[in-house]
């Protein structure tokens, strides 16, 4: 600690240091907080492996008609989630088919739950209007979390 840091300089430096912290963008803090909220979740992360949205864009040069249904596939080592958007609801199926419970986590922190039937089917209705992710826990103990989804 240099001796020449008198009170005024020290206070000035402190002021700068605290302001520099306030300058961190809020989205940065928000993202960090969200990541932290998930850091101790013991679920497998399912990656988005198919999105008809991207498919359609590529196909646009070849075809003029657009698919009316958006389909998404999330894949993890033990489970695949097939999702289809139809109107206001999201229909899904687990592969291989099995029963379980599905949690819908929105970016705003709300959590709702829906049941997955014996053949692995479920519906999310209505579709959250903000980003959300799905966490699926099956009867046999598989626990899978998807990445964030925006419909």
């Amino acid at each position: 600690m240099p001796d020449y840091w008198d009170d005024d300089r020290l206070l000035g430096a402190l002021s700068q240091a605290l302001k520099a912290r306030q300058a961190v963008p809020s989205w940065f803090i928000e993202t960090g907080r969200n990541a932290f909220a998930w850091h101790n979740i013991d679920a497998e992360l399912a990656q988005l492996t198919y999105d008809s949205h991207g498919d359609r864009r590529e196909a646009a040069v070849l075809r003029s008609e657009t698919a009316s249904i958006r389909a998404l596939t999330f894949t993890s080592a033990h489970l695949t989630l097939e999702l289809e958007v139809t109107g206001n609801s999201l229909l899904g199926q687990l592969l291989p088919p099995r029963a379980g419970e599905l949690e819908i986590h929105t970016r705003a922190g709300q959590i709702s739950t829906t049941e997955v039937d014996e053949i692995g089917c479920f519906s999310v209705d209505p579709i959250p209007d903000i980003q959300f992710r799905l966490r699926c826990r099956t009867a046999d103990g598989t626990d899978v979390l998807t990445g964030w989804i925006t419909i």
Partner: protein, 95 residues
């Protein structure tokens, strides 16, 4: 951005982190007082008296005491000789 600027920015960032750590380790009364003193726009001693209940005459000595604690803190001591290389008079990093 040249190397000297980057070095300078790293030193400033280190110093800022040390200052924040030192500040966080201060007693709450000191944190409140110093926060009010460096707020923008600054609070008057009368405001500080009203907010913290400190007699106006003791704000100056209290300020000196709090800054002394800050200066003696482990976080700033750890900054050690590195701190001497930083010109603390300057405003923005690299300026």
């Amino acid at each position: 951005m040249d190397d000297a600027t980057i070095d300078g920015e790293i030193l400033v960032a280190e110093r800022n982190a040390a200052l924040r750590a030192a500040f966080a380790a201060l007693p709450p009364r000191c944190q409140q007082l110093l926060s009010m003193l460096i707020s923008d726009p600054p609070h008057s001693y009368a405001d500080i008296h009203a907010e913290l209940g400190l007699p106006v005459g003791s704000i100056g000595p209290q300020r000196a005491r709090c800054l002394d604690r800050l200066r003696q803190s482990d976080a700033l001591a750890a900054l050690g000789e590195g701190g001497e290389r930083i010109d603390i008079r300057g405003g923005e990093p690299g300026a």
